[in-house]
Subunit: 325 residues, 2 copies
């Protein structure tokens, strides 16, 4: 993994991904006690940064690989990114999703042309065996959600944009709080910033109870979560940091930040009121850290990602209701 | 009013306003039966396009005028735009607002430094007399919400952006559906498009029961609404078209489009689900027209504005609830 791969990915996906803006609000600044710059990847195609990596990975495949098709495992955002990127390349995409994934994500993945195969994670159905069987019988290429160089390179294009936008805004020294699951987004951004804006430092942010990355960064070794699921921030829950992502983040990022589900809901309400953006719980944890972990962040400025905005209306209503109460 | 004023306004406000993107979604396209391009002014500073005109007007004042301060009448979005633009110029802003304006807009106007004076429109309190008295005693300069050349010029900068973005997207011929109250936004955009993208035609859109502009465009003379208020789309209700705006729109725009409050709510839900944007009812009428007035729109592409995103959480929940039902 290196900056050249990120620059190559940027060239390959230019004109297909959206260059998301860097937003701010005087109201958010006041709540956070410092200037907060928001990178809204909820405005990316398919509603999350995952499309960057999916498009970068699918566009790197050979004609023969595209003709056979691709396969991905995902609780939703990677699923939609891969489905759209595959459709744009005329390729079949088989997506293995947990049956209890948010309905809106399953529906959207199908609507984007993805061939969705559901499995029951609570009943212990073996996702990997299911995928291996399908993959072998049909010759599908697996697009991993984070531990995949081209995916990390694609996510890193957001870091190149952040470096440019921070320079334009006159920010040379700040924490960049990034919503973190397996660490693909965080490590791609960290590599881009190392090359383009070395005064900016990635701070991965996770939901409480699923802080495998924060513990791994603190201890220097790969820690696992105690349970596989159960957070409202389902989009960014992974069992453990990736083999490729953890070394990058140990070298370039941290310490990790951890917020509660309720804090993520409050951040969703703040994004609604002051940024007019729809964030999903897992997409709002970095903004939650800026609002509720002020003492753990350094400097007059902080950059945060909103990583995704695919949220069931009922969950969103819960966030608004908390805010009104 | 001419294109030179719009270009001059653009130079004056460059670096202060946001150049909002042009977004789309395959889901919205499918619902609308054609390609829909969305200009999300809900992402503008203060949450609506009104900041463009306010900044353009305030930045055109002399030092002596700024030292005395400004005054504006507004149900909320113009209020916030003027309050912020005045604060940025170190000027006082007195904002006369109806006491029944949405709470969030009153609160935000105060938080942006506006000196809010409430009046009771239902009880027949005379807003104009109140404003004239304050204005005379303090020497305040009135910033009209739409019938003011510098405000129209500022709103027209959105039209310059649309012209550029349409060119980049390869669109040379399309309707541009614009949320319309007094017609400042619509006429500014129409003048910009006349000069920069003559194949694009403005179609003002209003809420049912408050379609003064549509009737004025159809009859060629200034028509009034029967009642002063009562639409969920409060942000874009004005008694009649402006003296400056109507001639521009009679020459360059129309016919008008009209949607119901319920259609505006459904458009809000579509913006939530597929664009991850928060739109207020009046800000969503143009998208509603693309979704529900397909037969009245021409061409393979349509451009629509989302003009504002300042909405009480309760109203937003109503929109989401309708969508879930």
């Amino acid at each position: 993994m290196n900056i050249d791969m990120i620059r190559a990915a940027q060239k390959r996906i230019a004109g297909h991904i959206r260059r998301t803006p860097l937003l701010n609000s005087p109201f958010i600044d006041e709540m956070a006690g410092r200037r907060v710059w928001i990178k809204p990847e909820c405005l990316q195609h398919t509603g999350s940064f995952k499309y960057r990596g999916a498009r970068a990975a699918v566009s790197a495949l050979s004609e023969a690989e595209l003709a056979r098709g691709v396969i991905a495992y995902s609780s939703g955002n990677h699923a939609q990114g891969v489905a759209l990127a595959a459709r744009e390349h005329g390729a079949t995409a088989v997506i293995i999703m947990p049956a209890d994934a948010p309905r809106v994500k399953i529906d959207n993945t199908r609507a984007l042309g993805g061939e969705v195969v559901l499995y029951d994670r609570a009943a212990g159905e073996d996702r990997d065996a299911l995928g291996a069987e399908l993959s072998a019988s049909r010759g599908l290429t697996l697009i991993r959600p984070f531990d995949e160089p081209q995916v990390i390179a694609g996510q890193g294009t957001a870091g190149l944009e952040i470096a440019d936008q921070a320079r334009e805004a006159g920010i040379s020294d700040a924490d960049v709080v990034v919503c973190c699951g397996g660490g693909g987004f965080a490590s791609g951004i960290a590599l881009a910033l190392e090359a383009e804006a070395p005064g900016l430092r990635v701070r991965p942010c996770e939901p409480a109870g699923f802080d495998d990355m924060a513990r791994s960064l603190a201890t220097g070794r790969q820690c696992r979560n105690a349970t596989p699921s159960g957070s409202l921030c389902d989009a960014i829950v992974s069992p453990q940091p990736g083999e490729l992502t953890l070394p990058v983040l140990l070298r370039l990022a941290g310490p990790g930040l951890v917020v509660t589900d309720n804090e993520a809901l409050s951040a969703m309400a703040a994004a609604f009121s002051h940024l007019r953006l729809v964030a999903e719980p897992g997409g709002a944890v970095a903004l939650a850290a800026a609002l509720f972990r002020q003492d753990e962040i350094d400097g007059d400025d902080v950059i945060v990602t909103i990583s995704g905005g695919n949220v069931d209306a009922g969950v969103f209503q819960t966030a608004l209701h908390r805010n009104m109460a």
